[in-house]
Structures are given as C-alpha cells and as structure tokens.
C-alpha cells in the first residue's frame, strides 16, 4: 500500500473508532433509559424517546456501533493484507452508512422535530469516511 493510501486508511480507522465510541455512549443511554449529554437542547432526549429511533425494534445507535465496528475491522485488516475487496467493503459499508444517516437526519428534523448532536456528528463522520473510501478507490485505480 502506498503512503497516501496508508494515510487514508489510518484516518478511516481513527474515525471509525471515534464513531464507535459515540455510538456506544448513545447506545448505553438508549438501553439504560438515562439522559444524554446534549448541546442541542432537549433534542437528544426527544430522539431517544421517539419510537422512530427504534426501526424494527433496533435502537439506531446499535446500527452505528455495528457499522463502525465493521469499518474498523476492515481498515485494520487492510494493514495486513492489501486486498481490494477490503476497500470495496469499506466503500459498501460507507455507502450504506451515508444512506442510513441521511434517512435518520431527515427523520430527526421532519418527523421527530429534534436534533441529537451525537447523531449529527456521527452523520458527518460517516460522510467523511465514505469520501475517504471513494478517494482510496480512485487512487487504487490510478495505481
């Protein structure tokens, strides 16, 4: 893997860990029904208490935790094996991730009418990861 690809993979790994930590924090609050530290007013509470935050009975942060764990594992595996399939895996997960966060941001704004700061940060994080995956793929193709 060349230096540029290595750097991009490092950033993806670190951002995945950051996303995972945020997801774990919000998930414990969903499961224990406790308050969330939130800088966006009562938005986090409104989101936590809404049934829309539990699609198919699954708390939304659990989806985030699973997704970020998957991204973290894939980017870790890329340090051992320069396999294009792993990068496509990151791209695929990132694509699903941005669709999911876009849907949830829409749900928050228009249906729940409350914004959870953590979900917003996580959405931006997922977009950045997806962007980095696209950049990595384009670099691989050029090489």
């Amino acid at each position: 893997m060349d230096t540029k690809l290595k750097s991009l993979n490092r950033i993806i790994f670190v951002l995945s860990i950051a996303g995972l930590l945020m997801g774990l924090y919000v998930l414990q609050s969903f499961l224990r029904q406790t308050g969330i530290v939130c800088l966006s007013g009562g938005g986090c509470e409104a989101v936590r208490k809404s049934t829309l935050s539990y699609p198919f009975g699954i708390p939304v942060p659990a989806v985030g935790v699973a997704g970020y764990t998957f991204l973290m594992v894939l980017s870790f595996l890329r340090t051992m094996k320069n396999n294009k399939g792993l990068l496509w895996g990151i791209f695929g997960m990132g694509l699903f991730g941005i669709c999911f966060v876009s849907w949830f941001t829409y749900t928050e704004i228009f249906l729940i009418k409350g914004i959870c700061m953590w979900c917003g940060i996580s959405a931006i994080n997922m977009y950045v990861i997806f962007g980095l995956a696209v950049k990595s793929l384009s670099l691989t193709k050029k090489a």
Binding site: K6, R10, I17, Q33, G35, G41, E45, T79, M80, K113
Partner: protein
C-alpha cells in the same frame, strides 16, 4: 504471523482506545454521590409534607412533558399515602421543546400567589392533553381565582424568578431530562412508572 509496523500502530491505537473506554465505563457506572438537601432544595418554594422528614423526594418536571404526566398519579398517591412522613418538592424544569411548558409553569406560580398552587398543578397534569392558553384561563376561573389579578400576575417578571431559580438548580446538577427524581439526594434511574413507588417504599423500609 509477522505483524507489519502499520498493524502494530493500529493495534496500539486500538489498545489506547480500549483503555480509555474501560476508564469511561468504570466512571460512568460508578454510583453517583447523593446530592445535599441544601443544594437540591435551594429556594424550593413548592413543597408538601414535613420539612424534617427522613424521606424526601425532589422532582424536576415539565407540565407539558408526557412522561411527567404519567408519573403524576404515582407522585400524588405517594404524597397522600405518606403525607406525615414524606417531604416532596416540585421544581420546574420546562424544556425548550415544549411551547406550553413555561406558560403552564407561570400559571401555577400565578395561582400560587392566590394560594392555589397545588390545585393548578393538579389541573395541569390531570388534563395535560388539553394544555393551551385558553385551558389555563378556564382552569384559573374554575379554581375561583381573581382573573384580573391572575392575568396581571401571569405577565409579572417576578414569577419568572421562581422558575429561573428551579432551572438554574437543575442545570447546576446536570438535569437532562424530565421528570428527574431525587430520593434522599440520590438520582433515581426508573425503568417503569411503578419503580418510583417501589423506590420510595423501599426507602421507608430501610429507615424503619
């Protein structure tokens, strides 16, 4: 298997994160210290029961919050059952997302000036789904309040002080949701509405 320097770097980052996460879990699951009565009851104006009671319950609530409305009958039941042995304080914590929460809190404060705080408080919770400006006026009239004075008091800035004091206490102790209950200074983590009654009853059993 020989690990590359990049793999080792990632493992290092992961290990550091795991350590930080473990510390965070330990700190977050540590039972919080009870908050002193003077802090929780600072400037508390709306209370029921003997001040020196061994069991005291403080609620931070919002008249428009549906969960607060669901807890209301349990609180009422407890304050009636233990009227001689439970000290209860109601503190306003109107959430910005609830447009009628602050006007409702002001209505209760305005009713308080005419000695009908708890009557207005009960009306606001029992008919929470009807909460509106006209509902507040009709309830004030039903309670036999002097409407001219009530309307004047509702606009008064001094009413705001009591509500602002409650919010300031809530903010200082980190309230992030309503209702939040403190039983003898300890924050209650309630899964169901009935858990509140159980917690209070357990506290009475403990002190016997």
């Amino acid at each position: 298997m020989k690990l590359t320097s990049e793999t080792k770097l990632f493992l290092g980052i992961f290990a550091v994160t795991a350590v930080i996460l473990t510390i965070a879990i330990v700190l977050m699951t540590k039972p919080a210290k009870p908050i002193a009565k003077e802090v929780l009851l600072a400037n508390a104006t709306h209370t029921i029961g003997p001040k020196d009671a061994a069991v005291w319950l403080v609620e931070f609530s919002d008249f428009q919050c549906p969960a607060c409305g669901q807890f209301y009958p349990v609180v009422k039941q407890l304050t009636e059952k233990y009227k001689d042995s439970l000290f209860f304080a109601y503190r306003n914590y109107p959430l910005p997302s609830h447009a009628m929460a602050k006007p409702a809190a002001r209505a209760a404060e305005a009713a308080n000036i005419q000695g009908k705080y708890w009557e207005m408080h009960d009306a606001l919770f029992t008919k929470q789904s009807e909460l509106s400006t006209s509902f507040i006026s009709s309830e004030a009239a039903r309670l036999g309040l002097n409407m001219e004075q009530f309307t004047q008091d509702m606009q008064s800035t001094t009413l705001e002080t009591s509500i602002t004091n409650d919010i300031a206490v809530g903010d200082a102790i980190g309230i992030s949701a309503t209702p939040t209950f403190y039983l003898n200074g300890k924050k209650l983590e309630l899964q169901t509405i009935q858990d509140l009654a159980t917690a209070v009853e357990n506290e009475f059993t403990k002190i016997k």
